[in-house]
Amino acid sequence: MSEVVIEVVGLRKSYGDVEAVRGIDLRVRRGEVFALLGPNGAGKTTTVEILEGYRERTAGEVRVLGHDPARRDRALRERVGIVLQSTGIDPYLTVRETVELYARYFPHPRDVDEVIDLVGLTDKRDARVIRLSGGQQRRLDVAIALAGDPELLFLDEPTTGFDPGARRNAWEIVRNLASLGKTVFLTTHYMDEAENLANRVAVIARGEIVAEGPPGLLGGRHLAETLIRFRVRSGASGPPAVPGAVVRSNGLVEVRTETPTSTLHELTGWAMAGGFELDGLEVTRPTLEDVYLELTGGEAGAE
């Protein structure tokens, strides 16, 4: 097992009466991509900013690369790259000037043009920040965080506002970083992002971790029932002879099963025998989104 880069035990944070984080434990190892998923107000930014050293914790133990981030050691800041949920950039500097400015704060910066290429801002190199679109500014945020060649990267909703192409590109960057042995801690609202990028996902709701694990296994997802759906035309001989079949009023049939292979076999046999078609046949497994909605109580933001 590789070295533990982030270790959090019993972390709590209150803002006055509001308990934003209520005793969470996390452990992230070198080379991992770890995603913190959760609805608005769940405590993601609070957690990340405690790890980054911006906020003081109310209780709990936190180690980041062996440091207590609350002490804001420079030696720690030299090894960490940060994309905040929302931050500004000087509007009157150009993209290149900006990346160069931040790169030199670090002891071993990356090549400035290479970083700009990496986030796809080559065409905008000499454009002033004020002339960039929202998504382009966000890419510049990522470039700034990469400029110091950090071994640990914090990304708080890094791809919010990205077009689909830019998101794929950002994922590619994160995968490359991981393959170089860098550690990435990200928060996101996008299930597909967590699923595509993360080795491990923790779902946070109302300040508590409600599930944690590899995205494929989250919340017992791999054990959950498969859903088979289709429509039958009139002409079908009675309801399908499989256990658990439910016929909806609009003619839609739903079957939940733990043995999808044999159930499907029976259903197709039934249709072949009757000489009709299973219209719009679908076989789906619960998506990460389903699991997530289940886990977080389907709420739209915990306020």
């Binding site: 420079r74 800041r77 931050t87 009157y92 110091g148």
Partner: protein
């Protein structure tokens, strides 16, 4: 790079951004020069009694506008631009990098001082060309430069302290002007305060730093008959020190909610 080199580099980037921003270039730079032209052409023909001597108003204004320039470039400029940077999240971003906070802020203060010195030089040149004002030389010049730097640094520190009481960037101009404009008037920057000005106004002048700064600037600029008083510089520096202590205690790197 050493921290000092990083700080000086910060001055360079601050300078680049400063001149590209139409608002800072205009309000910080063009504004004092515009005031100088307006005041001297409107009111520069009379005289004003100071310390029992009649002084040409044009001379008075050249020194007063040099004072105004330094205050605008350091106090007003720092208070407003740093509040903007705080509220737009630039300070927070910088705070997450290895750059020491002092290097960032001192970089801005040094840039403000350079702008102040440039403005004072332009004001002095204007005075010399149009009103035959004598330019300070030798020991007087040294004193004058010292006063400019002491004033610029003190007002910059007060500007940093002021950001702590500005709730957000939108309120910046209102708060900053509410503080500095009355003081500029009560300290004789826009309207000369002669020997016969009301006592309460003179009391205000002795308490706050603007009048002391203006007196020291005038004495440093013209020499006789103005008396250069070290206590003016001392009071100015004490205010600056107070500003520094307040800034160190209350300065915020993150946007105010």
């Amino acid at each position: 790079m050493s921290d000092v080199a990083l700080m000086l580099r910060q001055v360079r980037y601050t300078n680049k951004a400063f001149w590209r921003n139409p608002a800072s270039a205009f309000f910080t730079f063009a504004f004092p020069l515009m005031f100088l032209v307006i005041f001297t052409s409107l009111l520069g023909k009379g005289t004003v009694p100071i310390g029992g001597v009649l002084i040409k108003q044009s001379s008075y204004y050249v020194a007063a506008m040099a004072t105004f320039s330094v205050i605008t470039a350091s106090y007003t400029n720092i208070a407003m631009s740093v509040t903007y940077q705080r509220d737009s999240g630039i300070l927070k971003r910088v705070r997450g990098t290895p750059l020491p906070g002092w290097a960032y802020l001192v970089g801005r203060v040094i840039h403000a001082l350079l702008v102040a010195v440039l403005l004072v030089a332009l004001t002095a040149a204007f005075g010399a060309v149009f009103y035959g004002a004598d330019l300070p030389t030798g020991a007087l010049l040294a004193k004058f430069v010292l006063v400019v730097v002491a004033g610029g640094a003190s007002f910059a520190a007060l500007g940093l302290a002021t950001t702590a009481i500005v709730p957000n960037a939108d309120a910046g101009p209102a708060v900053v002007n509410a503080i500095i404009l009355p003081l500029l008037f009560l300290s004789g920057i826009f309207i000369p305060l002669g020997d016969n000005s009301p006592a309460w106004i003179r009391t205000v002048g002795t308490i706050f730093p603007v009048k002391h700064f203006a007196d020291a600037m005038r004495a440093g600029f013209y020499g006789r008959p103005f008396r250069f008083e070290w206590h003016d510089v001392l009071i100015l520096l004490l205010w600056g020190l107070g500003g520094l202590v307040a800034a160190a205690r209350f300065f915020s790197w993150e946007p105010r909610k």
